[in-house]
Amino acid sequence: MTREELNLRRLMKEANHTQLNAYTRRHFLKESAMGLGALAFGSLLGSCGSKPNEPKQIVFDPAHPLLPKSPPFLGKAKSVIYLHMAGAPSQLELFDYKPELEKMSGQDCPESLLKGKKFAFITGVPKMLGPQAKFAQHGQSRAWVSDNLPHFSTMVDEVTFLKAVTTDQFNHAPAQLLMHTGSARLGKPSMGSWVTYGLGTENQNLPGFVVLTSGGSFPDAGKSIWGSGFLPSVYQGVQCRSEGDPVLFIKDPNGMERDLRKATIDAINAANEQEYAYYNDPEILSRISQYEMAFRMQVAAPEVMNIDNEPQYIHDMYGTQPGKACFANNVLLARKLVEKGVRFVQLFDWGWDAHGDGPQNSLNIGLKNKCRSTDKPITALLLDLKQRGLLEDTLVVWGGEFGRTPMLENRNGVKSPYNGRDHHTEAFTMWMAGGGIKKGFTYGETDEIGYSAVSGKVEAFDIQATILNQLGFNHEKFTYDFQGRPFRLTDVFGKVIHDIIA
């Protein structure tokens, strides 16, 4: 820096300083007048629109995190049973009947369907594949259901089909995360966590959000799809088992009296209370209340979770296999839990990924067997909820994470001896029943080969928004503050599907 420059800098600094000295309080007030006025006007205008009866923000009470709360609006549903067929069932072999696809079966896939598209496994030009099941229309609503689901086809007048569900994820884990947490990446709370955070649960002796899995494996996205994300950890799904003890280590060890257990928990809680007095961390209060709930659960859970005391005809209806871990047992458990006031029951059944790369993954063997193991229990669930009057306020949702291609999968360019379909994001079928959803209704339509949605296109966010709506939430106002901003289950998306609401 030259001397000249340095002098110039000093001069500028001095001038600036002098100028600032001349700046008085009067200046400040004068210049603020407009800004203050605008602020005042803003708050005045703001008060015009808001109603005095605006629903309140949900308050998290760490000492009683699961106490039941009123929904912001009057909802039609009180609880949810969500049946997720992990691996993605083929809509083309179950609900979306496409006679045109049959005519094209065996032909090369037109290039227009492949251009610019990404598939998980399909390479080159695959062949089209017609429906691998026989279809018929059922009920008064004349809904198409394939012969893979002989029992469920009698229930079509109770459900609303969503024929044009779409997603933007073509791999299992991200697609499952999107379906249940509203984000294809890890870290967001699951729907069940949001719901128990917002509504608590009626039965304080049981968890509010129960997860049951079957099919021999966890869903690909792992436990994150029932995780609580950034919500307090008490809202994560509690995984229960239908074989052996419903919750691991729920029984007291041999020789331990209930009184001694109580004394243990009291001692632990006393220690935790001291910790709380010292650190003031609300999670400690949650911990205390969780210990207390666990103690109550030791009595309540085995009773509810034990399906043995159900009458034989109920077992016959569901097709249960007592003592084994299976979907039918889980479905019966789901009904029992909802009956006892559990808010959200999430079932995952693994094994629907019919690529055709092996017999158990094929449309003609594996898929048919998956249908056989779920058709009767799901039908029984709907009928059983109905006769008990529970279907009025229990929302049942069925679906996978995406759909399957109208094309035959040609993994590695090789023709497999088994028929299968690849992952497909542009159209698949889900259904909902009960909880204020229309009966015997179909929403959305796919093109004549079931490749893409033509009308009534919905995405995961719309389904989440609709589920929250039925429970009495406006999904746009149901938020949780985290990292300095409010978060929603539906992020910045989602529209309630009003057309399917009764």
């Binding site: 039941p68 009123s70 016959d316 209806m317 569901y318 097709g319 009767k376 009928l383 006769q387 009057g389």
Partner: protein, 466 residues
């Protein structure tokens, strides 16, 4: 975009602003005319400034009115008339101010004053026509307002022409004011079939033969608090029968010439038609349901006692004073039931499933007259207990699953008009009882359950690899 919003915003002030020049100019005119008499001559000096203020008000109104006319879809002819008359009023008022300053012939001034007063009245009338519909002013005199019927009674309903005598009057009285010749909200007109098929911003409003796909019908059926519901929440709503009429007309092809008989009324429609003949179809009351009525908050003491006992007591939603009570993990005791009595105004949903409630306890329920849903599943109640419910006429849902009640017991509730669902699985109601109950409750769904899912060969076998 922002600019457009601001102009829209300012435009919305027009309905407020117009009243300024009206008031000021009428006052000025009165002062002017009155000051002709000696008694009120002292008012004369005030006239000039009043006209100036009135003229300024009129000019501001004109500007805001112009902005408003740009944002909404009004009948161009009416808007034009209103606009030019309004500008005329502003100009004449300004002229009056100038002439008063110049002290010209007083007679001319008075004449101009009369002109201002008359034109302001006409302008105001057109303005009213724009917002409320052109027949707004005289509907009170012409239409049969006392009964509020949208469709005037039709003498011979079977021979009546469906469109001109039923559908058209209905649309006219409920829709035209926003979707007619003068105003086309959402660019939609409903005052002829062609307009309906053409539709508005949201696409066609009418699909012949397909009520489910017709926006006209879909919007009527949306829940009242849905933004897309029509007519808007605050306007008179269509009754069930009127909606059924429109739906039927659309489903039968939306013909505008045929008679009711030619359009082949469905059984449902035949049941409703006599109501249109007698004019007995009343418009839907917007506050018909109990939950829409205000109620005071429940006694906090009773709430506390119940909550302390572990009973789940909750407002049905965050801003309601109505309550739902669930004995989910707590058993009933006479003391707790007595506390329930104190909530008789607020308690609408009550769950007593699998509690030790018996016929004796049912007595305390008899005073809960606002109950809408009652769940008595798995309790020891019998027909005797049901007798205590006879005053709970608001009930819409009654769950009696796994109780000992019989058809005779339930028949005691025969005049429960709102009872929509009765759950009777595992009760003493047999097949015969169910048939008799169906005649007692023709509009309710009665579910005796006992469903079975047959076991097919495929349920217990698997498809093997060939």
């Amino acid at each position: 975009m922002q600019l457009l919003k601001i102009s829209q915003f300012l435009g919305h002030f027009h309905p407020v602003l117009v009243h300024l020049p009206i008031g000021i100019l009428v006052l000025g005119g009165l002062f002017h005319l009155l000051s002709a008499s000696n008694r009120y001559a002292f008012l004369y000096p005030a006239v000039r400034i009043t006209y100036l203020l009135g003229a300024i008000g009129a000019i501001v109104s004109c500007i805001s009115g112009y902005l408003l006319s740009q944002t909404s879809d009004y009948d161009a002819k009416l808007v034009g008339l209103h606009q030019w008359l309004g500008i005329g009023v502003a100009m004449v008022a300004l002229l009056l101010y100038v002439l008063l300053t110049l002290r010209v012939n007083e007679l001319l001034l008075r004449l101009l004053t009369v002109v201002v007063l008359i034109s302001i009245t006409i302008t105001g009338h057109y303005g009213g026509s724009l917002t409320h519909g052109s027949d707004y002013l005289f509907t009170a005199l012409t239409a049969d307002v006392s009964s509020g019927v949208a469709i005037p009674p039709v003498a011979n309903i079977q021979q009546a022409k469906a469109y001109p005598q039923l559908v058209e009057p209905l649309l006219k009285n409920r829709c035209y004011s926003c979707h007619g010749a003068e105003k086309q909200k959402g660019k939609l007109r409903l005052d002829s079939k062609d307009f309906m098929i053409k539709g508005g911003e949201g696409g066609p409003s009418l699909v012949e033969g397909k009520a489910d796909e017709s926006e006209l019908i879909k919007r009527l059926l949306l829940p009242l608090d849905n933004d897309d519901h029509m007519p808007p929440k605050e306007k008179p709503q269509l009754s069930q029968e009127e909606i059924a009429l429109l739906k039927w007309w659309v489903n039968q092809g939306a013909d505008t010439h045929k008679t009711v008989m030619d359009l082949k009324p469905t059984p449902e429609m035949s049941a409703i038609l006599p109501l249109f003949q007698s004019g007995a179809v009343k418009p839907k009351e917007t506050k018909s349901s109990l939950l829409d009525k205000e109620v005071e908050a429940a006694a906090t003491e009773a709430l506390k006692k119940l909550k302390d006992a572990g009973v789940v007591v909750l407002p049905i939603h965050q801003t309601s004073n109505y309550l739902s009570v669930n004995f989910v993990t707590t058993d009933v005791t006479p003391a707790l039931l007595d506390e329930l009595k104190k909530l008789d105004k607020q308690l609408v949903y009550l769950e007593l499933a699998y509690t030790s409630l018996n016929d004796e306890g049912m007595k305390t329920l008899s005073s809960l007259k606002n109950l809408l849903q009652l769940n008595l599943r798995g309790t020891a109640i019998t027909d005797k207990g049901l007798a205590h419910l006879k005053d709970l006429k608001q009930l819409t849902l009654l769950n009696l699953v796994e109780t000992k009640v019989s058809a005779q017991g339930i028949a005691q509730l025969k005049d429960f008009k709102n009872l929509k669902s009765i759950y009777l699985y595992k009760t003493g109601v047999d097949k015969q009882g169910l048939t008799s109950l169906k005649t007692v409750f023709p509009n309710s769904s009665l579910d005796t359950g006992g469903y079975r899912v047959p076991t097919l060969a495929s349920d217990t076998t698997v498809v093997k690899v060939p």
